[in-house]
Symmetry: C2
Subunit: 187 residues, 2 copies
């Protein structure tokens, strides 16, 4: 026997577990129904406090290994106290995290070793919408631009393909680029 | 002169500043163009680190009063290390914070004193989408349910109207319920 020079690709992704989950949940749709949750308490003004802890999935209640807590606020230039990022910045964090996790998972699947991945996100917004100054201006982002810089053992085309596949499977990319039904009730 | 019994409504919202901003930015659309930003660094696997600090608006670079930092990850039941909430939970935090800030601002505008506002958000997701187990299942939320509990000096109808008006002016509600164009490039 001779030693073959097969590089070991390790992006910190447990690929076998993902493939097993795909097979198992593909055969058991009920277990694939997840419910993600947050709880929010208003503090004062535009400041609110949020916790993320439990969720439903795999047929039972699941938990994060700690209670994650966050503050949301508006900045001082809007006469607020800036106790945390704005709501829209949280959306950008979610989008960045989703696309980046996808890049790592797809790279692992394709045998590509990542060395570094960074991204900047820019969300354009005309705030005349939220201020009610112009009803023709939408409240949300007019556009979002994501720019990745990736150092990996791969060609530029292979790297571009990683990012494209990540977009194709990204939950938050889907949420942002397509409409989702939201019901709001008061109890 | 007699003292009138006018209750002082204080929800921590600087109403005059908001009205002034609406007038000023309504008359100066260039100043109303904001750009919100985040920066992301991949750590390992599905774990990434994010910072939120500067943004553009009012015709110049603005800053939060600190660098806000966040970790995004997947939970242990997905064979990840759970260093932070999932990307989709960040979206729920943003939605909750946006609607809640709106409730406070609208209440101030309408002279309604809030005593407490809490909300729970539930995002339903069939994870066969993101796992690639079924191409007919979308990657994002199939639905989001928001439930507010509000204690205020107001009738149930007035409280329901507060929430409805907050939805009408919410940036993140718009982002989630309507499509936004996202461009992704690799440099």
């Amino acid at each position: 026997m001779t030693m073959t020079d097969t590089p070991v690709v390790d992006n910190g992704i447990n690929l076998q577990a993902l493939l097993d989950a795909r097979d198992a949940l593909g055969a058991d749709p009920a277990a694939a129904q997840f419910q993600w949750r947050t709880a929010c308490t208003w503090r004062s003004g535009t400041h609110s406090h949020h916790t993320v802890h439990t969720f439903e999935g795999l047929g039972s209640r699941q938990s994060h290994n700690q209670v994650f807590a966050f503050d949301v606020d508006h900045p001082e230039c809007f006469a607020s106290e800036d106790h945390g990022p704005t709501p829209v910045e949280y959306v950008l964090v979610g989008l960045a995290g989703c696309l980046t996790a996808g890049v790592a998972a797809v790279a692992q699947m394709r045998g590509i070793q990542l060395r570094s991945v960074t991204a900047t996100l820019e969300g354009e917004m005309d705030v005349r919408g939220v201020l009610g100054a112009d009803n023709d201006v939408r409240n949300g982002f007019s556009a979002i631009n994501v720019t990745f810089t990736i150092d990996a053992d791969a060609t530029p085309d292979e790297i571009a393909a990683l990012v494209a596949q990540s977009q194709k499977r990204s939950a938050v990319y889907d949420v942002v680029t397509n409409p989702t039904n939201v019901t709001v009730e008061v109890r």
